[in-house]
C-alpha cells in the first residue's frame, strides 16, 4: 500500500512538473472558469433574478465544467511518444498509475477551484459570512468522486479521435448526483444555515466519493491491454 502511494505521488509529481513547464492546460482552465463566471453575470436579467439565487448553481456548473477541461490532459500527455508504454513496462503497480493520475487531476481541479472561488465571491457579491469552512468541505466532498470517474473516462477518451467531445458525453451523467447535493448544501450555507444541518447531503456526497473512487481504482487496471 505504501509502495502504491509512493509511486502514485511520484507519478503525480511528474505530471505536475510537466504541466508547470508548459502551463497551457491550467491557464486555459482558469481562464475558462473566469469567463464562464463573467458570462453568467450577463446571462440573466438582474432585476428579476438575484445573483444570490443563481450563485450556487453558477459556482458548481463552473467548477465542474472547468474541471472537465483538465482531465484529458493527464492521458494526452502519455499518448505523446507512447510514454504510457513506458509506465506499463515498469514494475509499477497498475493501481498506482490510476492513483497517480487521480492525484494529478485532483491537484489541477483544486487549483482551478482555488482561483474560481474568490472570483466568484467577487463577481457575484456573495457574503460568505461564516460559511467558508462549510463551503470548503462541500467543495472537497463534491469533487473527490467525479474526478475519479473523470480520470477513468479520460484514459478511454484519449484513445478516440474526439477526446474532447467524448469525455463530457460520458462524464456529464455522473455529475448529476454530486452537483445536486453540492448545490443544495451551498445554497443553504450561503443563506446562513449551520453546517451540521447539511449532514444528510454531505453524507451522500461522501458515499458517492468512496464508492466511485473504489470502483474506479478497481476497474482501471482492466482497461489496460495486458
Amino acid at each position: 500500500m505504501i509502495e502504491v502511494l509512493r509511486h502514485a505521488l511520484a507519478l503525480a509529481a511528474k505530471d505536475l512538473r510537466v504541466e508547470l513547464r508548459s502551463r497551457t492546460a491550467l491557464v486555459s482552465a482558469i481562464a475558462f472558469a473566469a469567463l464562464v463566471l463573467v458570462i453568467f453575470n450577463f446571462a440573466r436579467d438582474p432585476t428579476t433574478v438575484s445573483s444570490r439565487d443563481l450563485a450556487p448553481s453558477v459556482l458548481w456548473v463552473t467548477f465542474t465544467f472547468a474541471a472537465m477541461l483538465t482531465f484529458n490532459r493527464s492521458f494526452a500527455l502519455e499518448k505523446e511518444n507512447g510514454a504510457m508504454d513506458g509506465l506499463l513496462l515498469s514494475p509499477v503497480p497498475r493501481g498506482a498509475i490510476f492513483l497517480g493520475k487521480y492525484f494529478a487531476n485532483l491537484g489541477f481541479v483544486v487549483t482551478v477551484q482555488a482561483v474560481t472561488l474568490p472570483l466568484f465571491v467577487l463577481f457575484f457579491n456573495v457574503g460568505l459570512g461564516g460559511a467558508l469552512p462549510g463551503l470548503l468541505l462541500v467543495t472537497v466532498l463534491g469533487t473527490l468522486g467525479f474526478v475519479a470517474v473523470g480520470t477513468v473516462f479520460a484514459s478511454m477518451a484519449v484513445r478516440t479521435r474526439f477526446a474532447d467531445l467524448m469525455l463530457p458525453v460520458l462524464l456529464l451523467p455522473f455529475l448529476v448526483p454530486p452537483v445536486i447535493g453540492a448545490v443544495q448544501v451551498t445554497t443553504r450555507l450561503l443563506a446562513g444555515r449551520p453546517l451540521l444541518e447539511q449532514a444528510g447531503w454531505l453524507r451522500i456526497l461522501g458515499v458517492y466519493d468512496v464508492v466511485f473512487l473504489t470502483v474506479c481504482a478497481m476497474v482501471f487496471p482492466s482497461l489496460l491491454d495486458e
Binding site: H7, A10, K14, R17, V18, R21, S22, L77, E80, N81, G82, A83, D85, G86, L87, L88, L89, S90, P91, V92, P93, D225, E226
Partner: protein
C-alpha cells in the same frame, strides 16, 4: 508459435509489414495480452510476476519520453519507477554512457532525433535489464549512429544480455545476429542460426517476403 532467446544471443525477427512483428515484441515486453500462450522470463510467467519487468528493457520507435522534461528528469523519474536506489545518479550515469551528459538539462523537445534515440537507449538500459527488446532500431539512423548502436549491442551481448531485434532489413544487424527468424503472416517461415553466406540468405529472405 514459439520463440526463445538465451543469454548473450541476439535474435533477429524479420518480416514484411503486417506480419505481427511489433505485436510479438509488445507481447514479449508484457504490454499486450496474447490471445493464448504465455511469456516466460527466466522460467517464470511474466504476467504473474510483475517484478520480472525489471529484467526487460524496450527500445520502441517512439521515444517513451516526456518532451517537456529534460533527459535527466525523464531518467530520474524512470529510475524511481524501477525502484533504483540512487535515481538521479543512475540517470546521470546512463546519460553519460550514451554521451549526452552535457545535454542533460535541455528539454527533450529541443534535442535532435539522433540524440532523442540515445536518451531512449539510456532509458531502456537504465535498470540493467537482462533482456533487451528493440523495435526497428536502425530506422532513420545515420551510419555513425548505426555503428554506435551495433557496438552497444556487442557490449550488451558480451555482458550476457539476451537481445531480440525486430527489423525489416538485415544489413545493419547482420554482424551481431546470432539467430535469424522470418515471420510472415503470423508464421515462422525461416528460423535458423545466422549462416555464413549473407547474400544467399538475403535472397531467401526476399523470396520468403514475397510469398
Amino acid at each position: 508459435m514459439a520463440l526463445s532467446a538465451g543469454t548473450g544471443s541476439l535474435q533477429v525477427i524479420l518480416g514484411p509489414n503486417g506480419a505481427g512483428k511489433t505485436t510479438l515484441l509488445r507481447i514479449l515486453a508484457g504490454l499486450t495480452r496474447p490471445t493464448s500462450g504465455q511469456v516466460l522470463v527466466l522460467g517464470h510467467s511474466l504476467r504473474n510476476t510483475p517484478r520480472l519487468r525489471r529484467e526487460i528493457g524496450l527500445l520502441s520507435h517512439q521515444s517513451l519520453l516526456y518532451d517537456d522534461l529534460t533527459p535527466r528528469e525523464n531518467l530520474t523519474f524512470i529510475a524511481r519507477l524501477y525502484g533504483l536506489k540512487a535515481p538521479d545518479q543512475s540517470a546521470m550515469a546512463a546519460l553519460d554512457a550514451v554521451g549526452l551528459a552535457q545535454r542533460s538539462a535541455d528539454p527533450v523537445r529541443r534535442l535532435s532525433r539522433g540524440m532523442v534515440q540515445r536518451v531512449a537507449i539510456a532509458r531502456a538500459l537504465l535498470h540493467r535489464p537482462r533482456i533487451l527488446l528493440l523495435d526497428e532500431p536502425f530506422t532513420g539512423l545515420d551510419p555513425r549512429a548505426a555503428d554506435r548502436l551495433v557496438r552497444l549491442l556487442e557490449e550488451q551481448l558480451a555482458a550476457g544480455t539476451a537481445v531480440v531485434v525486430v527489423a525489416h532489413s538485415l544489413y545493419d544487424i547482420w554482424p551481431v545476429a546470432t539467430r535469424i527468424s522470418v515471420l510472415v503472416r503470423g508464421q515462422w517461415v525461416i528460423d535458423e542460426p545466422r549462416p555464413t553466406d549473407r547474400d544467399r540468405f538475403m535472397v531467401r529472405v526476399q523470396e520468403a517476403f514475397s510469398d
